[in-house]
């Protein structure tokens, strides 16, 4: 990334929910609909996010992070998601890769990548989905072959958030015995990026199809263990992505609530303010209740992560399922409350509605989530 703090000297560091809210209200909320229409997040905002220390504040101070706990990180991501799901999506995938490097990387890999990921000098993307494999990660066909002490990577990854802009890809590919995770710099010969335009939602998240053709990688490209535990890199990384998506879903509910409260306080029907109508009050009260419930589920998942508790994985599944379905439901109601105004560009709710649908699909579709949650219940209860 080109330079940053110097070009955004007035940007305060984001350290908690309050400072995140101030950053989002100043630098994201006024422009989110424009990002949506333009189909990209401008470099200026990416630079401001770097100056604010937003990219990977959970990394330890020794690599340039702030050692932020994951509960606070969740609150920060919620605030960003309240402003713009596309921007939050960029944070999500960068967070996933940065965490994976810190958790699973060798000392050399951490030294090479963690400081740059922490600063935002290198932006990262997570490459799992393929044209023929989405929620079914075991169906991927990208592959690596060991050669000359390193690896040769071939395959196509699709729906890659920030694929258009990222400098580093974490690519999941088949090895001879399992699925491995590989760090692939964008400028590697054989890497080709094709933008995917006109998505339903998160339209500014710079989604791409990324192709890898005979990409030669060194032995240090493999991240984490091989063998049976290689799947843990994927599981752990998706867990953190799911956590971020859950927080972002809470942000969507909150944004829908704030938009509807403001609209209902101004708009009249037959001489009565919308906010005085019982049916509108019912919708708003459900938004308030679900926002609070989803926020608590997310906070509990974050608390368990900070404590290193294994139960965080299932808690995160539950939080993401609840928050994403609630976001889709309330974003739909937000459009309903706005009527025809909700279908145009003058209000943010149409964007919220489209973005919320995406939350039900990414990082494990809601159907996969329900299967997983039910499976756990069957083992533990039934």
């Amino acid at each position: 990334m080109a330079i940053l703090a110097e070009s955004a000297p007035d940007t305060l560091r984001v350290t908690d929910r309050k400072s995140a809210r101030a950053f989002v209200d100043t630098h994201i909320v006024p422009y989110a609909d424009a990002y949506d229409r333009q189909g990209r997040v401008p470099e200026e905002l990416l630079e401001r996010m770097t100056a604010a220390g937003l990219w990977a504040p959970f990394l330890p101070p020794e690599v340039g992070g702030a050692g932020m706990d994951l509960v606070t990180l969740g609150e920060v991501h919620e605030e960003v998601g309240r402003g713009c799901s596309s921007v939050r999506s960029l944070l999500t995938v960068h967070t996933m890769v940065s965490w994976a490097v810190q958790r699973w990387g060798s000392p050399a890999q951490r030294e090479q990548w963690a400081p740059a990921l922490s600063r935002g000098d290198v932006l990262a993307a997570f490459c799992l989905s393929e044209p023929g494999a989405g929620s079914d990660a075991s169906g991927i066909s990208s592959n690596v072959v060991a050669k000359n002490g390193g690896w040769v990577l071939n395959g196509v990854k699709k729906w890659i958030t920030n694929g258009q802009r990222a400098d580093l890809f974490l690519v999941f590919a088949r090895t001879a015995t399992s699925i491995g995770a590989f760090l692939v710099p964008r400028n590697s010969p054989g890497v080709d990026v094709a933008p995917i335009e006109d998505m339903l939602g998160t339209r500014a998240s710079m989604i791409a199809e990324v192709s890898f053709r005979d990409v030669v990688l060194g032995p240090d490209a493999l991240l984490g263990p091989s063998g049976f535990t290689a799947g843990m890199v994927l599981t752990g990384t998706l867990d953190l992505g799911r956590y971020s998506v859950a927080t972002g879903s809470v942000g969507i509910i909150q944004a829908a609530l704030e938009a509807c409260a403001a609209y209902a306080s101004r708009r009249t029907v037959g001489g009565t303010l919308l906010k005085e109508l019982p049916l509108i009050q019912a919708k708003l009260s459900d938004m308030v209740t679900d926002a609070r419930a989803a926020r608590l589920l997310v906070a509990e998942a974050g608390r368990l992560k900070d404590a290193g508790e294994a139960s965080t994985i299932m808690a995160t599944w539950v939080a993401k399922y609840f928050a994403s379905t609630a976001a889709a439901r309330h974003a739909s109601e937000a459009v309903q409350i706005h009527g025809a105004n909700g279908c145009g560009h003058d209000y943010p709710v149409a964007r919220l509605y489209r973005d919320a649908k995406v939350m039900e699909i990414i990082e494990g579709s809601n159907e996969i989530q329900r299967i997983t949650i039910a499976g756990q219940a069957e083992r533990e209860i039934i």
């Binding site: 699973w104 060798s106 984490g224 263990p225 063998g227 049976f228 535990t229 799947g231 843990m232 994927l234 599981t235 752990g236 867990d239 404590a307 290193g308 508790e309 294994a310 139960s311 965080t312 994985i313 997983t372 083992r379 533990e380």
Partner: protein, 82 residues
């Protein structure tokens, strides 16, 4: 090797699969208990409970087959526990 280490590991596995009858020498992979989700939970549980960090080169299937081998792993990584 401390019996309590094995017992705690067995308690964790049984908490996830309460209907299963499993002892300290049974291979949980052969029993079909281990998927990537459970593997992650198991590693997190061991690291948290015994205050150790399992390096990548110890994340081998043979270290996780039974409560006995997992307890041996804990012992290697935290010698004071032995």
């Amino acid at each position: 090797m401390s019996g309590s280490t094995k017992d705690q590991i067995l308690d964790f596995v049984r908490s996830r699969y309460p209907q299963a009858e499993i002892d300290e020498s049974q291979d949980i992979f052969a029993l079909g208990f281990v998927n990537s989700l459970f593997a992650m939970e198991l590693v997190m549980f061991i690291e948290k409970t015994f205050a150790i960090a399992i390096p990548n080169d110890e994340l081998k299937i043979d270290n996780f087959r039974t409560a006995n081998t997992m307890a041996e792993l804990v012992g290697r990584l935290s010698p004071a526990r032995v």
